[in-house]
């Protein structure tokens, strides 16, 4: 069984988000780029499954659509333990374009399980997993919080309002992963970093696709009014404000 982990690269989650003065693009000066946290968790889970011989998982590949400048992040994924990587050499913030590239890579070299994160922390598209699945005609399960393989059968749980569902799905499928899939992301050990340099990273040229959307402008949320402080000895004053000023209780 082979697992493909789709990986996007995002600014470190503690980054103070800034834009260029015209508001048209993200200001990347001084920004640390990291593996999208969901993808880091997916990768960790994929490697855990591979570590357990009973699952029959023999290969974990990461796929990234992005320019050559993103290769350090791909190498990070290899250092964490992925066997090999694919990079489709194009850059787009349109989910349809990104998904078309991933779907094409998968068509050329199919996988049994494809893992995507629930969203990229930058553009919050929540799009790529479902799009790839539809393009390939594969089933998709979203909000996946657990993934096991028993006797060759994938067993997933999915978060629903107020609980979860346990379900099975035949391979190939796309799982769109969220919290719970594993506890902590794996980090690269020194040895991993050394071997990552020599692991295969295949570069594919993109297929032609037209974006269906474009990003015109960014804006920061309105700064909130200054916080009104209430004396700790007098919390009833807070209740009065919530009742009469904010009118929310």
């Amino acid at each position: 069984m082979k697992i493909l982990v789709c990986m996007s690269q995002v600014p470190d989650t503690t980054t103070k988000v800034r834009f260029t003065p015209d508001g048209k693009s993200f200001d990347a000066t001084g920004v640390q780029w990291v593996i999208n946290p969901w993808d880091e968790l997916s990768l960790t889970r994929a490697l855990e499954l591979k570590d357990d011989a009973s699952t029959g998982v023999t290969q974990v590949t990461v796929a990234h659509v992005g320019p050559v400048g993103n290769e350090p992040t791909i190498r990070k994924a290899l250092a964490i333990g992925a066997d090999d990587a694919i990079r489709v050499n194009t850059e787009s913030n349109d989910a349809f374009v990104v998904s078309s590239q991933l779907a094409e890579a998968i068509r050329q070299n199919p996988y049994d399980i494809i893992l995507c994160g629930i969203e990229s922390c930058d553009f919050n598209g929540s799009s790529v997993g479902g799009m790839v699945a539809e393009m390939l005609g594969y089933p998709s399960v979203s909000a996946v919080s657990s993934l096991k393989i028993e006797n060759g059968q994938a067993i997933l749980s999915r978060e629903i309002d107020g609980g979860k569902e346990i379900l099975t799905v035949p391979t190939p499928f796309v799982a769109i992963v969220q919290k719970g899939i594993t506890k902590e992301p794996r980090i690269a050990a020194m040895r991993g970093i050394m071997v990552a340099r020599t692991k295969p990273l295949k570069v594919m040229e993109p297929i032609a696709t037209e974006p269906l959307t474009s990003l015109l402008q960014f804006e920061k949320p309105q700064p909130r009014a200054a916080c009104k402080l209430i004396d700790a000895e007098n919390p009833q004053q807070l209740i009065e404000l919530l009742q009469n000023e904010a009118k929310v209780i």
Binding site: T13, T14, V17, F19, P37, W38, A95, F96, C121, F123, N124, S126, S127, V128, G129, M131, A133, E134, M135, P139, S140, V141, S142, A143, I155, I160, D161, G162, G163, K164, E165, L167, T168, V169, K179, L212, T213, S214, L215, Q217, F218, E219, K220, P221, R224, A225, C227, K228, I230, A232, E233, P235, Q236, L238, I239, L241, Q243, A246, V248, I249
Partner: protein, 323 residues
């Protein structure tokens, strides 16, 4: 042509977010001079349908069929996609909840439609079609233009007001027989708490962080939530430590919520936490550290020890309720 909105039902019932979606669809329909229609799958109660109709919908389509009880993304997307084609939907709207996020991307491919997810508010313009959406996990908004003839968007919860027009929608019920080849997922077990107020539905949320010191101190927080009819939430370390259930964790890697009122008690206000709650209308912070970043996000704050402040707050709410 029409504006089509997918309004999920929960065991036959709609929720506030369904009325939000309907109000929103009706408003866009007005802007574009088209009728607003809703589609729901399953067996909604007749009076629920009537109520949904009040929010400016011309028509509600109800798709019945066998084996539609659980969400199979492929089957649901095929049903919604077919209807969208039949009514020539020019805009298709879903909620930015679990179901909407599962279906919208598949529909985008089926209908070759541009998708904007996590949209806040009405289109900035309809020609070209430009929307304002959540970006950088709540730290920014992006304006997205959709270029395709069919447009799909998922609407953030609690981002549009209800507009009850007391209108009456025509109800059309029909049978669907999904292609059995598409039905590939099989739900083998459901583990669900019933009767509990869901965090994602709650208007008021009371949330505790590591500043609560121990799970044994949650009593007054629970009491406050009960008195206010609020749901409980927590920061990630609190659920990681097992002090509270994972269900309650809010933030970038937890639930993203937008209640009217969010109490952040003993929570420092890390960006990853705020990413899940910054769309709340009002935030109240209780923290011993006057410089905690949570006070920058809050409108009301108390600098003090939560364990001392909470009992007093509970008392004050009780007094207010008794008046």
């Amino acid at each position: 042509m029409a504006i089509l909105v997918f309004t999920e039902n929960w065991e036959g019932k709609f929720k506030k977010l369904s009325y939000e979606l309907a109000s929103y669809a009706a408003r866009i329909a007005e802007m574009m001079n088209l009728p607003a229609m809703a589609l729901t799958i399953g067996n909604p109660d007749p009076d629920e349908l009537e109520k949904l109709g009040h929010y400016g919908l011309k028509k509600i389509l109800v798709a019945h069929g066998k084996n539609l009880g659980t969400l199979d993304n492929q089957v649901y997307a095929s049903i919604i996609g077919d209807i969208a084609l039949q009514v020539s939907a020019s805009v298709l709207i879903l909620s930015n909840n679990g179901t909407g996020k599962a279906l919208a991307p598949r529909l985008a491919v089926r209908l070759k439609a541009g998708l904007a997810s996590g949209v806040n508010g009405l289109p900035i313009s309809t020609e070209p079609f430009v929307l304002r959406k959540r970006a950088y996990s709540g730290n920014a908004f992006a304006h997205v233009a959709i270029h395709t003839p069919v447009k799909i968007l998922t609407l953030s919860q609690n981002s549009f007001e209800l507009i009850d027009k007391q209108s009456k929608a025509e109800i059309e019920t029909f049978q669907v027989t999904p292609d059995s080849n598409l039905m590939k997922t099989k739900v083998t077990d459901v583990q669900k708490q019933t009767g509990k107020l869901l965090l994602t539905d709650a208007e008021i949320v009371v949330s505790g962080g590591r500043g609560m010191k121990s799970p044994d101190n949650w009593g007054p927080l629970i009491e406050l939530a009960d008195l206010l009819g609020a749901a409980l939430a927590c920061s990630r370390p609190v659920s990681d430590e097992g002090w509270r259930s994972h269900e309650e964790h809010t933030g970038q890697t937890g639930k993203v919520i937008a209640p009217n009122l969010y109490f952040a008690v003993g929570i420092s206000g890390a960006t990853q936490h705020l990413a899940g709650v910054s769309s709340s209308k009002y935030i109240v912070a209780v923290n011993t550290d006057k410089d905690a970043p949570v006070f920058e996000a809050a409108q009301y704050g108390i600098v003090g020890d939560a364990l001392k402040v909470l009992p007093k707050l509970v008392e004050a709410v009780r007094e207010m309720k008794s008046k």
